[in-house]
Amino acid sequence: MATTTVSPPAPGAAVPGRRRRTPLARREARWAWLFLAPWIVGFLAFQAGPMIASAWLSLTEYDVINPPEYTGLDNYRELMADPQVARSLGNTVYYTALHVPLVMLISLGLALLLKRVGRLQGFFRTVFYLPVMTPAVAVGILFLLLLNTQDGLINRGLALVGIDGPSWTTDPDWVMPGIVLMSLWSLGSTVIIYLAALQNVPRDLYEAASIDGAGAWARFRHVTLPMISGALFFTLVVNTIASLQMFTEVYTMYFGNRQTQTSFNSDAATFYVIHLFQEAFQFLHMGYASAMAWLLFLIIMGITLVQVKLSKRFVYYEGEDQ
């Protein structure tokens, strides 16, 4: 890539208030905007537009069929008092609190193992990533079978070691752990990110640490973790956001097709986005659902901001001063 060097002003020369850009810099900027244009157009058309529309709709009574009717902050007041909103939000936060640390820990463990595999690493990397390719609906159905209390593979496995497995899909206390178990199916993306980060840690750092007498744990704690902290932070943020937006697999498992509505569903499996979807498309409360969407947006933004703030203390990026 071409780079531009700007010569310092000659001693005694007048320093202009605003530095003039060279023709090359201007040309580069134009190219940059050109390459950014598809994303900007896409964002404005498919994200910013709908976001502004939903912000407006959240202030209305709107059923999709009839024109929206302005109601001010009524939807927000109603959702603050809605026990279903509190319950679904509680379930979602509970899931996030279980899912994110587990995914990060297990993925890191797997990535560390993969790093040691050697020549077969490519094969195992593919194997770990394959489940990510499974459609979410298929995953939901698959885990309904695996989590079957009487004949599911998981409880059969537990029975082998003398444990009477729980009713994963019907006991309210076990529904969420069952969903978390299912969610671990697709941790392949996180494993691949960690593996890439681990492979980028310079070997000389480990060698220097060893010479200084650092053991395996000390090398992991003081070399590996800081060097992959950027990847850890990235996966923390994206997994948290994805968890707070959990929908497809759980909807398939517990809510299915409303036209048949034969599946058992549990309060314990009502995630926030599922409740939002029901309000929007089954009960036709699109204005209320829009308010729910904005509440979730604010929650996610708040959590992400806290994470970013904390990251300044714990995350090391190569090239920055420490």
């Binding site: 999709v64 069929i65 009487q150 009713s167 899909t169 409303r258 509505q261 034969t262 549990s266 309060d267």
Partner: protein, 449 residues
């Protein structure tokens, strides 16, 4: 006239010209109805079998000037609402009848009063239960198709093992059901290996409540009766049958392993003795396990009188439909007696070619059902299945349906959630249904505003 208004008027005229649709009653066709031409779009319907294709072919044959565009697939609320919001709804939508009340109240589907009058559709030909589900406040919003009813299936081989006959299974005697269930169910090594009686709740709770003398919602679909003691008693009865078989977790897990559509169905595998279920299982049993010792009895109320719950599909014409005349002609022909008969004949021929028995088609149209069973249906020679067909035919005449309701979806959710909380052991039947009553009433009141 302002420029904007002129442009709008011009666009409207052009749209009408292009679609070839000048409004309802554009002239007479050969059959004496209104002329139909232009494009006709549908949503929620599929051409999955001969029952669908034969009827669609009949419409195409009789209406060559109509270009029929069928977007195949089951009805999807999100897809439908998106089309409505975009101002581009299909002309016709095929949906579960229980959804009609909600969409009618919101004005997304048209009243069919003019359609029925102008096409001369005889609403009396459809079964009463089906009519109830497509009628809100006396106005027809849909033309019904099919009538699925529930009957009691019994595995007589297992009854014999327990020293009983089908006559010993008396669903009218609620007090005796737990003892009967205990004799029939089989639990070994802590695992449920055979279900005695499956009450099929939550799905069939309205039928158990009706058997106990109460409707869960008023006939006009506007007043919930979920906290009625008779509904509570119905739920308590069903719950006990499940709890006595190891609790809902074990019960459901075992039931989830059943394959009702295959040769290894629970009847063949002796996994269940007595269960109410839709009539379609008879077709599957006749096809996959003709030698099974199956007995079909009517579901009965507490006085022993047969009753059943009916459900099915309906065609609705959307608000903003571009070709309502063709849509109306289509629904008339799709649900007409002769069209149904032709479709049933195609199925009977297909079954014969495959060496499988034909057990009838339940159309929702009284005249069509009569013609099919009087002129087309042939007893299979297997007395069990022939008796079963007769039982189902009789059940069609005593069917009730959950009426159209302006907040049908929320009403259903309220009582489904209540039953699920009870089954999961989170709540007792009375408080669960009391909460459901509050939730359903709030939704119904809101919808009424």
């Amino acid at each position: 006239m302002s420029r904007k208004l002129r442009a709008t008027a011009l666009a409207g005229v052009l749209a009408l010209a292009v679609s070839g649709c000048g409004g309802v009653g554009g002239g007479d066709d050969e059959a004496g109805g209104t002329a139909t031409r232009g494009t006709l779009t549908t949503m929620g319907f599929g051409l999955s079998d001969e029952i669908a294709t034969t009827r669609v072919d009949a419409f195409k044959r009789d209406h060559p000037d109509v270009e029929l565009k069928i977007t195949e697939g089951a009805f999807d609320e999100q897809q439908f609402l998106s089309a409505v919001a975009a101002g581009n709804p299909p002309d016709l939508v095929y949906m579960d009848r229980k959804l009609i009340g909600t969409y009618a109240t919101r004005g997304s589907i048209q009243p069919l009063t003019d359609c029925v009058d102008e096409q001369g559709i005889d609403m009396g030909q459809y079964r009463q239960a089906a009519r109830d589900q497509v009628t809100l406040d006396g106005t027809v919003y849909g033309i019904p198709e099919f009538s699925q009813v529930r009957v009691l299936y019994l595995n007589e081989a297992l009854l014999k093992q327990a020293g009983m006959t089908a006559d010993d299974v008396d669903l009218a005697d609620w007090a005796g059901l737990p003892a009967l269930n205990a004799k029939l169910a089989k639990v070994s090594g802590g695992k449920l290996t055979r279900i005695g009686i499956d009450p099929k709740i939550p799905e069939f709770l309205p039928m158990w409540a009706k058997a106990n003398g109460v409707d869960m919602i008023s006939p006009d679909g506007r007043t919930a009766k979920l906290d009625d003691p008779r509904v509570v008693e119905a739920l308590t009865t069903g719950l006990k049958l499940i709890q006595d078989q190891g609790g809902f977790g074990r019960f459901k897990s075992f039931r989830d392993t059943f394959d009702f559509f295959g040769a290894q169905n629970p009847l063949v595998k002796n996994q269940i003795v007595a269960w109410p279920m839709e009539e379609w299982f008879l077709n599957q049993a006749a096809k996959n396990s003709p030698k099974a010792e199956l007995v079909v009895k009517p579901f009965v109320d507490r006085q022993g009188k047969p009753l059943t719950m009916s459900s099915g599909q309906a065609w609705v014409i959307t608000k903003g439909a571009k070709n309502p005349d063709a849509a109306c002609a289509f629904v008339k022909q799709m649900t007409a007696t002769d069209t149904w008969f032709a479709a049933a004949k195609a199925r009977a021929d297909a079954r014969k070619a495959a060496g499988q028995p034909f057990t009838g088609v339940w159309t929702g149209n009284l005249n069509a059902d009569k013609k099919i069973f009087d002129e087309l249906y042939q007893p299979t020679g297997n007395k069990r299945f022939d008796d079963a067909v007769a039982t189902i035919r009789a059940a069609q005449d005593v069917a009730f349906a959950m009426p159209a309701s302006p907040a049908g979806a929320e009403f259903d959710k309220a009582w489904y959630d209540a039953v699920n909380r009870v089954l999961a052991g989170q709540e007792q039947p009375a408080p669960a249904l009391a909460r459901a009553q509050r939730e359903a009433t709030a939704a119904l009141d809101k919808a009424a505003k």
